[in-house]
């Protein structure tokens, strides 16, 4: 698992500089063959993120936003084009290198949380720190869990937590890795409005602390609090820029 990282700071990693958070996609295509038909999930996508930011990838179902997230997260490989993540070329990386990139550069927050049911909340968070090779993983986990407001729930198992709490644990797990890029796929999809806003608040705070946070959602309202909104339709980026009408405060959101 490589050398242990000894910093205890949960939110900001030493590598979270310009190169650490950099994402470059050039002419990226991702095609799937389904029942003999070629589905162009992403087609000639170019995207460059050169500094820490809160990005929202917006689009309807089937627009290719989850595919984009999977490619950035080294979970999938493009059919053509190049992807560089924190300075590392992903397209030509071996399976082992991609595993290492996932361990050291990106971390995930899933719509269905995907907590490990056999572990307590604290242990789930510690998983992130352990996998990333951070020293004092348990202390890091305690700090991060405290940071997401669940310091008192550390000994509870996933099935003993509410949906919002589970998602906060999932975010804490991602933060505990200390990785500079955080990828969240519909993180509020299964939550009520109030809990969803709390989650967005947490994610925004990470971007402000120097990480690149990419949130995929079909909820246009969420894009209002982003630094940058990338809109996808049928595999193409159809809009890329700050939210229309400027960035809104979290308190102004409604859905």
């Amino acid at each position: 698992m490589g050398e242990a990282r000894t910093d205890l700071s949960p939110a900001v990693d030493a590598r979270a500089g310009a190169e650490g958070t950099r994402i470059d996609l050039d002419d990226v295509c991702r095609h799937f063959t389904v029942g003999g038909n070629v589905v162009r999930a992403l087609d000639q996508v170019n995207l460059h993120v050169d500094e820490s930011a809160f990005l929202v990838v917006l689009g309807p179902s089937g627009s290719g936003k989850t595919t984009l997230l999977n490619l950035i997260g080294a979970l999938d490989a493009p059919t053509s084009g190049t992807i560089r993540l924190a300075g590392t070329e992903l397209t030509t990386a071996s399976r082992a290198e991609r595993t290492r990139i996932r361990r050291r550069t990106v971390s995930f927050v899933f719509q269905s949380f995907n907590l490990f049911p056999a572990l307590t909340a604290l242990e789930n968070v510690q998983f992130g720190a352990d996998v990333a090779g951070r020293a004092h993983a348990e202390r890091v986990a305690e700090q991060v869990l405290e940071q997401v407001g669940l310091g008192e729930r550390g000994r509870h198992f996933a099935h003993q937590l509410s949906g919002g709490e589970q998602q906060r644990v999932a975010i804490a797990r991602a933060l505990a890795t200390g990785n500079p890029i955080l990828l969240a796929d519909e993180p509020t999809g299964e939550l009520d409005f109030r809990t969803g806003v709390q989650i967005l608040e947490l994610l925004r705070a990470q971007a402000e602390a120097g990480k690149t946070v990419v949130v995929v959602t079909h909820n246009r309202e969420i894009s209002r609090v982003a630094d940058r909104v990338i809109e996808l339709s049928s595999g193409h980026i159809v809009a890329d820029g700050p939210p229309v009408g400027g960035r809104a405060a979290l308190a102004d959101l409604h859905w």
Partner: protein
């Protein structure tokens, strides 16, 4: 009809979609069903073959046997029969001369054995010889040195036909054929003057005419045995009682024992063994079937779980519950049918090696091995019902829930943590995720328990089967330890008649250059009674200065009889109690049977129940003071025991000479043949354990797919994920193995206590589990499940993480 076709088609699609799991379940059921059908089918084969074989050679209904060394003039026993009130019930009677002997032959052959001479007067055969090779003896062979060799003895010693043999006393005999006779279908402790362990290879029987055997042994004009057959429906006991009275009333009286067909050891064991084996096979088959059913339950539960949402959608659409049950039940029925179909093939396939093993191990002249349709039908029914019931339960559970619960997705559908909360405070060292395997076992306690029980069933079978062998080997070891604890080079020489201690025979043996010393003794048969219990004995009078005396676990060897612990237990007596021993006693008119009360003064540990010992001080009861029919010979320095045996061949009246080591070698050889049958069962159980482990791992990987995908998404190497799967399955497999070993030992004890006493009452077999068996069971149980996850390595390494995460959502 159309609706049924719709559901059937849908369930076929389910089968195709999960073909690997379906095949695995079907194979597990097939192994259970096939083992049941294959193993239990052998009982019917053996019964039919026994019936045909014993009938074909006209097995005697009654036998009159004179004590060893006792003979009467030829014709005297037959004459007694013609004077019986029920003489008309006797359909056949043959006088015989049965003499223990040594047989030397080509290739250095030198074995202990018997010469069986039967009178060749015209009339129905009794205990005939079924000649399978060469030719049968005819009228022209009467008195000529021509014999038929016992077929298995001849085959196992590669005896050619014709072959020239030399028997005790130096007579040469020509083997003209190979054949079998009912008392020698199996060689048991009854042969060889009570030598406990013999096998067909190391015990030669030569069948000849009465006059041939008389000439070969120098016992001209005498017989010592009479065999009778009775007409169907005759009162056997009445004829036996009349015979007893006739023997006692004869002048001089004839000391003899009267036995029935049921007293033929080979007959009794061959039939009793079927029941004993059937009991073992039934246990093995049911365990394998149970293991299969548990595995099937595990797998079908998983499959029904996978259909949970579809069932919920059906509920939401208002489909009646009973109709919703059709698809999973049809699925279960089809898997069960597939399993049963394959099972019948497995049963047929298992039958092939079993047929070969049985015909080799139990060499009956006639073997009938037709397909046992009734057993197969029974196996098919069980093979169908058990797994089908295993499907019905999860279906019933799935249909009990509210539709809203069934169609829930994501975290809302996640169930509780099982017993995992119990381990909240238990922290294993290392990273936090090291806790996952142990906790996963408890998170799904039902599945873990079912898997562990499935593996336990397989291991229980394995331990029981190998425990049987251990128990027999342990018994042999105990007998060997007892026989060889002193003077291991000694040779036990039996004489065909009682010889004076200062007579020519004893002097000639002592004078042989190969012999260092000779200790004369007495060996005779008898029966001990205590209340209504009886035990047949081979009583040896032990010379005080002999090189070997029995070990005593309690009491002393003087002033009474020393019994085997098994005999004392069966008679319900202890040291200090008195038993009545029925034994031959020499009188001026010959031998007669008397009853003498004897105090039990000692208990010896030899597991052979029949072996009893008397001190010289008690020998007077036999009226044989000053004579011997057993010589314990110590070889001269540097002389091998076999050289002593060979030198004894030319000494007249030497019936047999056996080394102490040889006593158990024959039985070990027989045991090795028995191992073959057990190995078939062991192979099946091993395959079953592998399948269960593979299924468990496949389910585990399936159920943990989402967790594994998450771990891989976070950059955990696939080998670490695989390692966690392995630890989880090893924990379950280990628990199952431990339960299996304990269960196997308990079952072994039960079977040993309930089966062996009826099948082999003469042997005190105690349930023994060797360290090797335990180690093998542990290794198999744990290694099998540890290896199984390797089959999923490729799947884990190549897991499509986004798809897995998306599908699971």
């Amino acid at each position: 009809m159309r609706r049924f076709r719709f559901w059937t088609r849908w369930s076929w699609r389910d089968l195709r979609r999960r073909w690997l799991l379906v095949t695995a379940i079907a194979l597990v059921i097939a192994l259970g069903t096939g083992t049941y059908a294959g193993l239990l089918g052998t009982s019917a084969w053996r019964t039919q073959s026994n019936d045909a074989s014993f009938a074909a050679v006209h097995t005697h209904d009654l036998r009159v046997s004179l004590p060893q060394g006792s003979q009467v003039p030829e014709g005297r026993l037959a004459a007694l029969v013609s004077g019986l009130p029920h003489a008309a019930d006797v359909t056949g009677a043959r006088e015989r001369l049965v003499v223990p002997t040594q047989i030397a032959g080509p290739g250095g052959l030198l074995v202990t054995g018997e010469l069986v001479g039967t009178d060749t007067r015209p009339g129905p055969a009794v205990d005939g010889v079924w000649v399978s090779e060469g030719r049968a003896l005819g009228a022209g062979d009467d008195g000529r040195p021509r014999v038929v060799a016992e077929a298995v003895f001849a085959r196992k010693n590669d005896l050619p036909t014709p072959a020239e043999l030399t028997v005790s006393g130096g007579a040469a005999l020509t083997v003209v054929g190979r054949g079998q006779s009912p008392e020698y279908f199996l060689i048991t402790g009854a042969q060889g003057g009570g030598t406990p362990f013999l096998s067909q290879k190391s015990y030669g029987v030569l069948f000849g005419s009465l006059h041939t055997v008389q000439r070969a042994t120098g016992a001209t004009g005498v017989v010592n045995d009479l065999v009778l057959t009775l007409r169907p429906g005759a009162d056997r006991d009445a004829v036996a009682a009349e015979l007893r009275r006739a023997l006692d009333a004869a002048q001089p009286p004839v000391a003899a024992t009267i036995g029935t067909r049921d007293d033929i050891d080979a007959y009794r064991i061959l039939y009793d063994d079927i029941d004993g084996d059937a009991k073992l096979w039934r246990v093995v088959a049911v365990l394998v079937l149970l293991g299969g059913a548990l595995a099937a339950l595990n797998l079908t539960t998983r499959i029904v779980e996978a259909q949970r949402r579809e069932i919920g959608i059906g509920m939401a659409l208002g489909v009646p519950t009973r109709l919703l049950a059709v698809r999973p039940l049809l699925f279960g029925a089809q898997v069960a049918l597939l399993g049963v179909g394959l099972g019948l093939l497995v049963g047929w396939a298992i039958g092939i090696p079993l047929r070969g093993l049985f015909t080799d191990m139990v060499p009956l002249p006639i073997w009938r091995t037709p397909l046992q349709l009734d057993v197969f039908a029974q196996a098919a029914a069980l093979g169908f019902v058990l797994p089908f019931a295993a499907v019905a339960w999860p279906v019933w559970r799935a249909l009990r829930v509210q539709p809203v619960e069934a169609i829930r997705v994501g975290h809302l559908a996640a169930r509780g943590g099982g017993l995992v909360v119990l381990l909240r405070r238990l922290r294993l060292p290392g990273p936090g995720y090291h806790q996952i395997p142990v906790r996963n076992v408890l998170r799904t306690p039902r599945r873990s328990a079912l898997t562990a029980l499935g593996i336990a069933a397989a291991i229980t079978t394995l331990v029981t089967v190998f425990g049987f062998l251990d128990s027999f080997r342990g018994t042999l070891d105990r007998a060997e330890d007892e026989l060889l604890h002193a003077a291991p080079d000694r040779v036990a020489v039996t004489l065909d008649t009682f010889q004076p201690l200062d007579g020519d025979v004893v002097r000639r043996v002592a004078a042989l250059p190969q012999v260092a010393s000779v200790d004369p003794g007495l060996l005779t048969t008898g029966t001990a009674r205590a209340g209504d219990r009886r035990v047949d004995l081979v009583v040896e009078v032990v010379a005080g200065d002999a090189g070997w005396t029995p070990t005593l676990t309690s009491g002393s060897a003087h002033g009474g009889i020393t019994l085997a612990a098994k005999a004392a237990g069966d008679l319900g007596v202890r040291v200090g109690d008195t038993v009545t021993v029925e034994h031959p006693q020499a009188t001026p008119d010959g031998l007669r049977t008397v009853q003498t009360p004897m105090r039990v003064t000692g208990i010896h540990p030899n597991p052979m129940r029949m072996l009893a010992y008397l001190g010289q001080d008690s020998a007077a009861a036999f009226g044989l003071t000053g004579t011997a029919n057993l010589l314990t010979v110590t070889p001269a320095a540097g002389v091998a025991p076999d050289a002593v045996r060979r030198s004894l061949l030319a000494v007249p009246h030497v019936a047999s000479a056996q080394t102490a080591q040889a006593a158990t070698e024959g039985m070990r050889a027989s045991l090795d043949e028995f191992v073959g049958v057990l190995q078939v069962a062991a192979a099946v159980t091993l395959l079953l354990a592998l399948l269960i482990a593979f299924n468990t791992t496949t389910i585990g990987v399936d159920e943990r797919a989402r967790e594994h995908a998450t771990m891989l998404a976070f950059g955990l190497p696939p080998r670490t994920v695989l390692g966690m799967t392995t630890v989880e399955t090893v924990l379950v497999g280990g628990a199952g193995t431990v339960v299996g070993i304990l269960g196997g030992y308990a079952l072994l004890r039960w079977l040993t206590a309930t089966t062996i006493p009826s099948v082999l009452p003469e042997i005190g077999v105690t349930a023994t589990l060797s360290g090797l068996t335990v180690a093998e069971a542990l290794a198999l149980g744990v290694l099998t499940v540890a290896v199984a996850p390797l089959f999923t390595l490729r799947r884990t390494r190549r897991m499509d993480i986004p798809t897995t995460l998306r599908v699971m959502e």
